[in-house]
């Protein structure tokens, strides 16, 4: 097994309590470079809470989160993103009043070296950088197939396209670790197939490590190399897709005790 130093992300006994409610307890995962992982479980199992803790929106009540050897527990979201972790959201959060292109450019903003001063004084360094960001953004839009919609308003896109835009925007932050929260939600079977291929592609193209939350089992079993299963905040199973599929606890969590008893 790889040591802490080689792991992209490691969570150690991470627990999240909101008052009297324990949303996540004792969450331990190890993420290796370059692989695609899955986090599944029934609704309300605490999956998005885990994402929120990793990306800094919540501070875990207990435990620590280590990213590439750095303790990022409790760091604010923008700092976490600076370090190289990007995410999408369960309910798409686009910048609805901006154009498709602007959305992706905003993703690229954190890597800008020039500041508002440079913009004000019309310095050539500023122009150069903005041009480069625009280029990169257009390239990303091309990669997700949205280049022709660059100057449309983000909220005028159809649902599936909005999801792809969100991913493009996240990629613009130049992450090494990408968290996708239900990327296939609301997609038809064909779109889902394309998405699966797309995720594998970007993993190659951008040298990413990916963790995704998903309900669509085709996607999970299709591209995830290792899966954790949460139920009521507890990790009830972990392993390869095959192991998870035949795990009775997992089946019970999703379909209920009766199913297992009568199966």
């Amino acid at each position: 097994m790889s040591t802490s130093q080689d792991l992209v992300l490691e969570t150690r006994n991470v627990t999240m309590r909101f008052g009297g409610l324990t949303a996540v307890s004792d969450f331990n995962i190890q993420i290796e470079q370059g692989r695609i992982y899955g986090l599944i479980g029934p609704n309300g199992a605490g999956k998005t809470t885990c994402f929120n803790m990793i990306t800094g929106f919540y501070t875990p009540t207990e435990g620590s989160i280590v990213y590439k050897g750095i303790d990022i527990t409790g760091l604010p979201p923008h700092k976490v993103c600076h370090l190289g972790i990007a995410r999408t959201f369960q309910n798409i959060r686009l910048f609805s009043n901006e154009t498709v292109l602007q959305n992706v450019m905003i993703g690229g903003h954190l890597r800008q070296k020039t500041t508002w001063w440079h913009a004000l004084l019309n310095l050539p360094s500023y122009f150069g950088e903005e041009k480069a960001i625009r280029h990169k953004a257009l390239a990303l839009l091309d990669a997700v197939g949205l280049k022709d919609h660059a100057s449309e308003k983000a909220d005028s896109l159809p649902y599936g396209a909005q999801r792809r835009l969100e991913i493009a925007r996240a990629l613009a932050t130049e992450p090494s670790f990408l968290l996708l929260d239900e990327p296939a939600a609301g997609m038809n079977p064909q779109e889902t197939q394309e998405l699966m291929g797309f995720i594998k592609n970007i993993r190659e193209q951008f040298d990413l490590t990916i963790l995704l939350i998903e309900h669509d089992m085709k996607v999970v079993m299709g591209i995830c190399e290792h899966i954790w299963v949460l139920d009521y905040g507890v990790t009830i199973a972990k392993g390869s897709p095959k192991e998870i599929q035949s795990n009775p606890k997992v089946i019970e969590a999703y379909l209920g005790e009766e199913y297992v008893q009568n199966a």
Binding site: T48, F57, Y58
Partner: protein
């Protein structure tokens, strides 16, 4: 400071605090159910005072009748404000309703200037309220005793309605979750109207008593007390009726007592409220008795 002076100041503080509390309740109830800061509430307070004045001088109503009529008419005015300026914006971004309330506030102030004229008017006060009584070394207006008692009674009545009646249950439900309440069959618009009505009635009562205490009517008389009462509501915990009462009393006491002990600060009296505001917003924005509302990520 002698004991009698202290008692006098204490009672004055109680009076002022009660007046603030009555207004603050209206702010807090509307915020609780609609998440709206009703900027126009101070003007409702003002209308209550003016309607009594009109009732007495124009319609020659006996005093008590004028008070009752004023409270009824002002409650109705409060309900109308919601109906016309806030209800159409229920589904709009919250800032729109806020801007609307600012617009209504300025409209009512200036409308009052147009109709009532900006010249301050003297209020004729019933004899029995303003004949000074002397208890030992303490000189009092009966008004100073009436206001806290009456305010207390009104607040109890309000709490009764909110916690022991069905419409009150509706109010509490809406303040927790308006959509679910709607789906559960709560007549949301009617309950909201009732909330505005009750809050306005209390503000009208406060306006009337205020005009008796500081017997000058001006169209802008609601601006400063209204804003201070709002701060009191924020301080106590916006959305909480008990918080509004506590906040109002604390503010009243601060204004009277601080100046009583340190008269040199008299010019800064109006700023105490803002100091309270800064303190609470910096350390506990939800107020003394308020609850935190989290953003869903």
């Amino acid at each position: 400071m002698s004991l009698s002076m202290f008692v006098q100041h204490f009672l004055n503080a109680l009076t002022l605090g009660s007046l603030y509390a009555l207004i603050a309740i209206g702010y807090t109830m509307v915020y609780g159910i609609l998440r709206l800061i009703n900027f126009a509430h101070g003007e409702i307070f003002m209308l209550g005072a003016y309607f009594v004045f009109w009732g007495v001088t124009l319609l020659h109503l006996p005093w008590f009748m004028a008070v009752v009529v004023s409270i009824i008419v002002t409650s109705f005015a409060g309900i109308m404000v919601d109906r016309v300026a806030y209800r159409p914006l229920r589904d709009a971004p919250r800032i729109s309703a806020l801007i609307s309330s600012i617009g209504v506030s300025f409209f009512l102030q200036n409308f009052a200037i147009v109709v009532f004229s900006a010249i301050p008017r003297e209020v004729q006060r019933p004899e029995w309220l303003v004949n000074v009584i002397v208890l030992g070394k303490v000189r009092l207006l009966p008004l100073t005793l009436v206001v806290p008692v009456l305010s207390f009674v009104l607040m109890l009545a309000l709490l009764f309605v909110v916690y022991k009646t069905k419409p009150g249950l509706g109010m509490r439900a809406i303040s927790k979750d308006i959509e679910t309440s709607r789906l559960m069959g709560v007549p949301v618009n009617k309950v909201i109207a009732l909330t505005f009505g009750m809050g306005s009635a209390l503000a009208a009562a406060s306006g009337i008593m205020w005009a008796l205490r500081y017997p000058q009517l001006q169209p802008v008389m609601g601006v400063i007390p209204g804003f201070k009462a709002f701060i009191a509501a924020v301080f106590g915990g916006i959305g909480s009726i008990q918080g509004a009462v506590i906040g109002g009393l604390i503010l009243g006491f601060m204004e009277i007592m601080i100046v009583a002990f340190m008269p040199s600060l008299a010019g800064y009296r109006d700023a105490f409220a803002f100091v309270l505001l800064i303190i609470i917003l910096l350390f506990k924005p939800t107020g003394l008795l308020g609850e935190k509302l989290e953003d869903k990520v």
